[in-house]
Symmetry: C2
């Protein structure tokens, strides 16, 4: 396992972590000053300053991307399918323009949450089928432009409204069906927050292997968790044994960035520089 | 599948559903008046009026029990193991005195939450091993007095602090190891709130079979969920397709009570009679 204690060269900042403290320009500037070498920006943050400007910004700062957030939200009424398809193709194009290594997919939950305006449904099996159809269709397009797709299983607490793919096993089953050659163009983004609880986690990381481990995200699970979406913890403040998960991921050959993604009503109230300084310290000591 | 639309003879009320509106005496009285035939009481509610009085109360009201809540919370420091063992044996004895068909087990999470005072740990694999050891030990005692033990997998959102057994598959793996003869003395309590999201749910219900399905609990998953523990929904108000899960459970031969267990800051503020009337209506229409 790589030694993170001496520097933060393998730290990437998911820009949602400081989304309330500044726009992408301010975030890139702060990262550059802190010696952070990589980010994972969100589409709305890119759109807010314009794609062309974002491309120049990232290039001029000499930043790598560890991913691009995000495509997905596939389950939808038939009348919305073209919107979903075009939206996701644009996400692939943006990822390509930004030179991202992969597009992270949050596949969506039930259609009324995935794509508002869809008829309410309780049929999660159908949502799963729609998600897989959507991934299959997008995979062709993404292959055409040379962009990898990374399915991110989300914690089962989000199964209804954000991702009906809740486990590594489900995500890898989809990979097996859609990319049986294990080409690596379809893989997973492993976020410890979403998968730490899974008794099958270690076996599934090994099953994924280097080709399918596209990204590794860290934050921490707080007890108590006061908000289902936005009370994620800084690494070290919760109960996830992050180093032991990273050890398994790296044993498979993963040698990319360790990306910090924290949705937190608490951390969003603190100055950007303080949050970034804390991220760097915890990356060295708790990841 | 049984037709619930005509009456509520198969409704059981988990008494936590109205725990803030009255003591066990008041709850039993309200159930009797509403024609409810079964309850599942909690240990603290029994203790509050005394075990002997609770036994007479339930018997005089002619109520069945659909279970007794709860044993478990096994992970603990070595110095607390005797406390854990004795506490769980008392739970078995109380269940027996109350003529419950089974003792529901919430196995506990990390030791510092399962048994406060234990040294903080992030080792969930170790917690799982301790939970299984605890179940194994209690199973011998329970067999001696003729009480079934029912492992309740809890939603992965509770893996850290309440139950490191998060899926039906985990629970049934434990059953296979500790009761390979499938005698039925060890089984599962299936609560739709905890397992609805699981892509493997239907297969695991079939795997459990009649002998191991000891209890069936219902409520609903609300979107958004505003409190991780106490924002569970009345059946029909959320997104769980309860009838489709009940159909699979009953196809395995389960013919017991459908137990309503709702932890809800909202419903706890309403008059007990109103909550019970709503439970009855939703049992007929949304279960």
């Amino acid at each position: 396992m790589r030694d993170f204690s001496k520097d933060h060269r393998w730290l990437s900042l998911n820009t949602a972590t400081v989304r309330h403290q500044g726009d992408l320009v301010a975030i890139v500037d702060a990262c550059a000053r802190a010696g952070i070498r990589a980010i994972d920006p969100w589409r709305d943050q890119v759109a807010a300053i314009g794609l062309d400007r974002a491309v120049r910004l990232v290039r001029d700062a000499g930043l790598d991307l560890s991913g691009y957030c995000r495509g997905g939200m596939f389950p939808a009424d038939p009348g919305l399918r073209a919107v979903v398809r075009d939206d996701n193709r644009r996400a692939v194009d943006e990822a390509k323009a930004l030179n991202a290594p992969c597009l992270v997919l949050v596949v969506g939950g039930l259609p009324q949450y995935s794509r508002p305006g869809s008829v309410p449904s309780k049929d999660i099996a159908r949502a799963r089928a729609q998600a897989e159809e959507g991934i299959a269709e997008l995979l062709e397009y993404a292959a055409g432009v040379g962009m990898r797709l990374s399915i991110e299983p989300l914690h089962p607490a989000y199964a209804a409204d954000r991702a009906c793919v809740s486990t590594m096993c489900q995500a890898l089953d989809i990979c097996d069906r859609l990319d049986p050659e294990k080409s690596g163009r379809l893989g997973v983004a492993i976020d410890v927050y979403h998968v730490w609880w899974d008794p099958d986690l270690i076996a599934q990381i090994r099953r994924a292997g280097k080709n399918r481990i596209h990204a590794f995200h860290v934050c921490d699970w707080l007890v108590p968790t006061r908000d289902l979406l936005n009370d994620r913890g800084m690494m070290g403040d919760g109960i996830i044994d992050i180093p032991s998960i990273r050890a398994v991921v790296e044993a498979e050959g993963f040698d990319g960035y360790s990306e910090i993604e924290i949705f937190s009503n608490d951390w969003w109230t603190k100055p950007m520089g303080d949050v970034i300084a804390t991220c760097i310290a915890r990356h060295r000591g708790s990841v």
